[in-house]
């Protein structure tokens, strides 16, 4: 666990540059939506938020993390390697024969709980886990990371209703709110905001942060995890930028499917590595 904010920020920068390095090795990976979630995963894994054990990925005492926005979590690969889930050398084999690090991560990767890539499943599965943990009397927390575009899926709202109905205060949903779907800005396709009013109407506690403000993300996640027996699930709306730190991605509404050239990656990472 990292206690100093400056160290957390430095770690997030390392995760960011490793994510770009892996994208260079495997250009078919979705890099833009992975860059928006860097601080979220860094806070969870390095900030003492998520109880976990890299040497024993299925340790019964772990908190559960479901990455519902599967594609956009390539940034989690270097974190898992760094935290001991698998060897760092595995990162160099991404998308190669014999590797388990695919373009869309699944539970064959140590540290991933579920099959990901089909959107809209994570919250319902997380509800089942949170309920199961309560029935077992296990004081463990379930985190679900979803993208804002996922809220077009009706199954999300089935899960959201279920979580409130069953008072799942051991469940925290994190929205990587980068405001972009594949083809355009969310509000031009299907409006999913305002999240606060929607979630509060469904009986959830809400909080919103700048998703790239390491201190804010870490503080909010720590508070929400330790919120105690509130009787209601909570959502953290993390406002983020898709393709964060790479001008070619940040300025492109079609960045979801954009592959960066080696030159673009060099320009983005130059001077920070």
């Amino acid at each position: 666990m990292i206690r100093e904010l400056s160290e957390l920020t430095a770690k997030a920068r390392w995760v960011w540059s490793e994510t770009l390095r892996m994208h260079r090795l495997a250009p078919e990976t979705r890099v833009a939506s992975s860059l928006s979630a860097v601080e979220i995963f860094t806070a969870l894994y390095y900030g003492g938020v998520l109880g976990h054990n890299g040497a024993d990925p299925r340790w019964e005492g772990r908190d559960r993390l479901i990455v519902s926005k599967g594609h956009g979590s390539i940034c989690l690969f270097p974190i898992l390697a760094d935290r001991g889930y698998f060897a760092m050398a595995e990162l160099d084999r991404i998308c190669q024969p014999g590797s388990f690090l695919g373009g869309i991560p699944d539970t064959i990767i140590p540290g991933y709980e579920t099959i990901n890539g089909s959107l809209g499943h994570g919250i319902g599965v997380g509800c089942g886990m949170a309920l199961g943990l309560k029935r077992k009397g296990a004081a463990r927390h379930v985190f679900v990371v979803a993208g804002d575009g996922e809220f077009c899926e009706g199954s999300m709202w089935e899960g959201i209703m279920f979580a409130a109905q069953h008072r799942l205060d051991n469940l925290t949903l994190i929205i990587d709110n980068n405001r972009l779907c594949m083809l355009d800005r969310c509000e031009k396709i299907m409006t999913v905001e305002p999240f606060e009013q929607r979630f509060q109407a469904f009986g959830w506690q809400t909080e919103r942060v700048d998703g790239h403000d390491m201190a804010a993300v870490h503080g909010a996640l720590s508070r929400l995890k330790l919120r105690g027996a509130t009787g209601c699930p909570a959502v953290l709306i993390a406002d983020t930028v898709k393709g964060r730190g790479v001008p070619e991605l940040e300025s492109d509404t079609l960045c979801h499917i954009r592959t960066l050239t080696p030159d673009e990656i060099d320009r983005a990472t130059g001077g920070v590595r």
Partner: protein
């Protein structure tokens, strides 16, 4: 309880499951706002392990898979076409795919297979389930013909790993087996009538029809096939080898992956010297009203139609 008693599959299954829940606290029962007389016992005796998710089949499967990942053995219950088709992708991703990597013990109970919700029309008829659920790797598929078989499936699904789908008929039907021990679930089928030349291979409700036909045409054999996946195909090939005609009978679409496809695979791979025909619904939905027999009659599936098929083939 005498074997000849008429009873619904769901009540036999849920009654047995409720008995097991008393000693096995890993069992959860999730329903998508669908009841049963026997279910009232589970609701009152195990309120912590009975959950009605509401009319939300997708969430039914998602929540069940989350509980299963926490080590619970979860039974999910909804109307057959909705649990299989509204939630098909949830079953594919979170049960079929996931269980190839991690243990996922979820059994999907679909009520109202075939046209057993007779006058409810195409939304409530379920003619695709056997084919589409068979299609999913790692998914077991059962279609019992009576409540004894349905009851036996409780302990069978408890003792086997991985996800399963069970099609329950919507109506109470008489027992075909004296006791659960006479049902051979690992093999997947039972030969109920020996015969010569022609063998009817039927599943679910159609086994009752096959038995009625065999009474009218002595010498016609009947095999009740209740486990479409897994099925001991070597044993089925051995059972079918004496016959030169095999007629599959299912309350589902034919020529598209259901029981007849399983039978065709066995005939082909074991080079059985027989001709195969399929009895079932032929690529059209059913808007007609009337009795179940009536619906079967206009689709060439009632007793007279099957007998005519057998006789016609004999005269060639």
């Amino acid at each position: 309880m005498s074997a000849a008693q008429i009873m619904t599959m769901r009540d036999a299954f849920i009654d047995t499951l409720c008995d097991r829940m008393a000693a096995d606290d890993s069992i959860f029962f999730l329903a998508a706002d669908l009841g049963a007389p026997a279910l009232d016992r589970i609701r009152s005796e195990f309120p912590e392990r009975f959950i009605n998710v509401g009319i939300a089949e997708q969430n039914l499967i998602n929540v069940a898979s989350g509980l299963a990942l926490e080590g619970f053995n979860v039974y999910t219950y909804a109307i057959a076409p909705f649990i299989t088709m509204r939630a098909y992708e949830q079953a594919r991703v979170n049960l079929a795919v996931s269980s190839q990597i991690r243990p996922v013990k979820v059994t999907m109970l679909g009520l109202g297979g075939g046209v057993s919700y007779v006058v409810s029309g195409p939304t409530h008829h379920c003619l695709e389930d056997l084919a589409i659920m068979r299609l999913l790797p790692n998914m077991s598929v059962y279609c019992p013909a009576d409540w004894v078989t349905a009851g036996a499936l409780v302990d069978h699904t408890r003792s086997t790993n991985g996800p399963a789908y069970i099609r329950f008929d919507g109506k109470a039907l008489p027992a075909l087996y004296a006791e659960p021990a006479t049902v051979n679930l690992p093999r997947g089928f039972s030969q109920l009538v020996q015969g010569t030349a022609t063998c009817l291979v039927s599943t679910g409700f159609m086994t009752h029809r096959a038995l009625a036909v065999a009474q009218q045409r002595p010498g016609v054999a009947v095999i009740d096939l209740y486990s479409l996946k897994p099925c001991d195909e070597q044993a089925l090939a051995t059972a079918l080898r004496p016959y030169n005609r095999v007629i599959s009978m299912e309350e589902g679409f034919i020529n598209n992956g259901g029981l007849d496809s399983l039978v065709a695979k066995v005939i082909r791979e074991h080079e059985l010297p027989c001709r195969q025909e399929s009895v079932g619904f032929n690529d059209r939905y059913v808007f007609d009203l009337g009795s179940r027999d009536h619906l079967h009659g206009i689709n060439g599936m009632d007793e007279a139609a099957v007998i005519a098929l057998i006789d016609r083939q004999r005269s060639i």
